[in-house]
């Protein structure tokens, strides 16, 4: 089912009653969640993710704006009439009921001609238990199960009524690292298998990137960017989104576009041209994988001083200092293990930049500043062109 939010705003009275200003948890949110997709709402703590989800579920009513399910206005519809299933961070499994009874709970609420017999209920429970693979555990109490199993029970309970929408609020944050990865793949599988439109809330960008069709990046109640994970990663709309996505995070340095070149501190790092051809000061964002070890004859390089090398198996991270970086932040470059070995644990290092992995942002409003790479794409050509420029 297609979900649309149109100019949705949610204000809360401040929890501290002495402050009369409202807390704007969600501000003018307009998004479209396509039928059958898995969409993640991603953002740091307190940015309004849960509120956005609660607005979709109907647990909270918007202060302004409208919500549509398949074109039908559901803004004033109570949660139980919206046909949704929800999984909470704490799972909210009833501790005194068995798994079977927990999953059956929503079915027992059905009234009138929708009312089911015990046998029908049992059949439905067993069906959904099979989908989430907990059919062995139906007679346990929640306490007698692992976090991951409890998680599945919660999903089963949310799915048992065959809702049109599945909402998950940070469903993995109570699991350990390994189980998180396993369970998120499980959620993806269940979503694909059932084809149910799913909204997934998380503050973990890796989680969101790995399982979503679309991610919605939020900060302080405002949607900063919406798009396919790879697109958002490859083309962040602003500095916040660029910083929020990717591990290790993007390197951000102060820089300047001057005379057709991008400078970072004293280093001339890239030949570029801005749309307006003007010179300006910018923030330069460089993805760690966009820093490539430079050869001796490279003209455009970023110089650094190696602090350490972090071994992560296949790839290694070079942690380095750059004079244009603020105190306490380091330059991080992901390189292959063999390249890392050639650098050594200390001393100087120089990188050339992959222009596709470099983003420029306005110094004031931190929005993206588009640039055109004026060097040649081909390595060899690049050399000759640079020489040409030098002349």
């Amino acid at each position: 089912m297609k979900i649309e939010l149109k100019h949705v705003t949610k204000k809360f009275p401040n929890r501290d009653r002495k402050i009369h200003e409202f807390v704007v948890a969600v501000s003018d949110m307009t998004v479209e969640i396509p039928d059958g997709s898995l969409v993640s709402i991603l953002g740091p703590s307190g940015c309004g993710k849960s509120t956005a989800l609660n607005l979709i579920s109907g647990l909270e009513a918007p202060t302004e704006g409208w919500i549509f399910f398949d074109g039908e206005d559901v803004t004033d519809l109570p949660p139980e009439k919206r046909g949704i299933g929800m999984v909470f961070q704490s799972y909210a499994l009833y501790p005194h009921l068995t798994v079977m009874k927990n999953i059956m709970f929503p079915l027992e609420n059905l009234k009138g001609d929708k009312k089911l017999t015990r046998a029908e209920m049992k059949k439905k429970v067993e069906e959904v238990a099979r989908i989430v693979q907990i059919d062995e555990l139906l007679f346990r109490k929640p306490k007698q199960m692992s976090g991951g199993q409890q998680q599945r029970v919660a999903i089963a309970r949310a799915l048992v009524k065959r809702p049109r929408v599945l909402l998950l609020d940070e469903p993995l944050s109570n699991l350990d690292a390994r189980l998180r990865i396993q369970t998120r793949e499980e959620i993806r599988r269940i979503q694909k298998e059932t084809g149910i439109t799913t909204v997934f809330v998380t503050h973990d960008q890796e989680e969101a990137m790995s399982i979503s069709d679309i991610i919605i990046v939020m900060k302080q109640g405002v949607v900063y960017q919406t798009g396919r994970p790879q697109d958002v990663y490859d083309s962040p709309a602003n500095l916040f989104v660029a910083k929020f996505l990717g591990t290790p995070p993007i390197n951000v340095l102060g820089g300047e576009v001057k005379d057709g070149n991008l400078y970072v501190g004293h280093d001339k790092v890239l030949p570029v041209r801005l749309k307006d051809n003007a010179d300006r000061r910018v923030f330069v964002g460089i993805r760690p994988e966009g820093l490539i070890l430079a050869g001796d004859d490279d003209q455009y390089v970023l110089h650094g001083k190696v602090k350490s090398i972090q071994v992560m198996g296949r790839d290694n991270t070079i942690v380095a200092n750059h004079h244009a970086m603020s105190e306490g932040t380091d330059l991080r470059a992901i390189v292959s293990a063999s390249d890392a070995r050639s650098v050594g644990d200390s001393g100087n290092v120089s990188f050339k930049l992959d222009p596709a992995k470099v983003f420029l942002f306005d110094r004031e409003d931190e929005t993206r500043v588009e640039f055109e790479y004026t060097g040649s794409v081909n390595e060899a050509d690049e050399q000759s062109e640079e020489e040409h420029v030098e002349e």
Binding site: G58, G85, S90, A92, F105, P106, E108, N109, K141, K143
Partner: protein, 298 residues
């Protein structure tokens, strides 16, 4: 390991000594007293060992009256006070803004002296040659006949007694239950709401099981407390409870020791042990039921 153990005992020592001197020793003493026949208070002698004290107490009409009073009090006040407290706590829990204020208001009787509250009750219910008392004025206003609740018929006195007991235990129960209700995680209700659970079902299937440990705690302590009632009776009916017909078991024990007809520690001990057996039995039954009914919420 052993050293650790010794240390633990050392820490426990003050508590053990204290409990030993003031709880365990008196308990044994009472047990011994209750079997000493013909004990003389002044000479501290007795002529035999046996069950005479028990048979005397069990045949004493004052004791039987006290047992009857106590049981009526227990059976009426424990369920009523717990039930009403739960209703009030539920109401309080739904009006979040007023919660703090109500907490104080309902807690007032708890921090107020029993005798002071008893005095107020007496003034409200008593009928004197000069005034009918507040409650009787109300009864008359609605066309009823004045009743003397303090010196009048048994049911009237019992009514005041139960009302007073409920009133006095209510604040504590409300306090416990409001915090029990508040401690139920809100997401259970959210989940239930999304699943279309009705209000009644939410209460019986979620709220009640979740607060059942506290509920049973209140019932058990309520039973024990009501069985030990005494000072409340004195506050309303004065010290001569036997002639008022409003004595309780603990009151009987006290009277046997220090009352006008007192000076019989053996009878008092026998009565006290009978009370002990009653309370113990009821508590064991309570615990057995609660083990079945109370759900593990964690």
């Amino acid at each position: 390991m052993l050293k650790n153990n010794n240390k633990a005992w050392l820490y426990l020592l003050p508590a053990i000594v204290f409990l030993g001197v003031f709880m365990v020793y008196p308990l044994f003493d009472v047990l011994i007293y209750s079997f000493e026949e013909g004990y003389n208070f002044t000479s501290q002698t007795y002529h035999g060992i046996g069950f005479y004290n028990y048979s005397y107490v069990l045949r004493d009409p004052y004791f039987l009256q006290a047992v009857k009073n106590t049981f009526i009090l227990v059976i009426i006040t424990v369920p009523l006070s717990t039930g009403i407290a739960l209703l009030i706590a539920l109401a309080l829990n739904s009006i979040k803004r007023l919660k703090d204020l109500f907490h104080t208001v309902f807690f007032l009787p708890y921090v107020t002296n029993t005798l002071a509250v008893g005095l107020v009750f007496m003034i409200m219910f008593k009928k004197t040659p000069y005034s009918d008392g507040f409650i009787n004025v109300l009864i008359k206003a609605f066309g009823g006949n004045a009743v003397d609740f303090i010196d009048g018929p048994y049911w009237a006195k019992m009514f005041v007694m139960c009302l007073y007991t409920i009133w006095i235990v209510m604040p504590f129960k409300i306090l416990i239950l409001t915090s029990a209700l508040a401690s139920v995680d809100d997401t259970y209700y959210k989940a239930a709401k999304i699943d279309g659970t009705g209000r009644l079902r939410m209460f019986t299937k979620i709220t009640l099981p979740m607060i059942s440990p506290m509920l049973f705690y209140l019932v058990i302590t309520g039973f024990i407390g009501a069985f030990k009632a005494y000072s409340d009776e004195v506050a309303i009916f004065g010290t001569d409870l036997n002639s008022a017909g409003m004595n309780t078991i603990v009151g009987y024990v006290y009277d046997m020791l220090y009352g006008n007809s007192g000076g019989y520690p053996s009878y008092a001990s026998a009565a006290a042990l009978i009370l002990f057996v009653i309370v113990f039995t009821i508590t064991v039954i309570n615990l057995m039921i609660s083990r079945k009914a109370v759900v593990e919420t964690r």
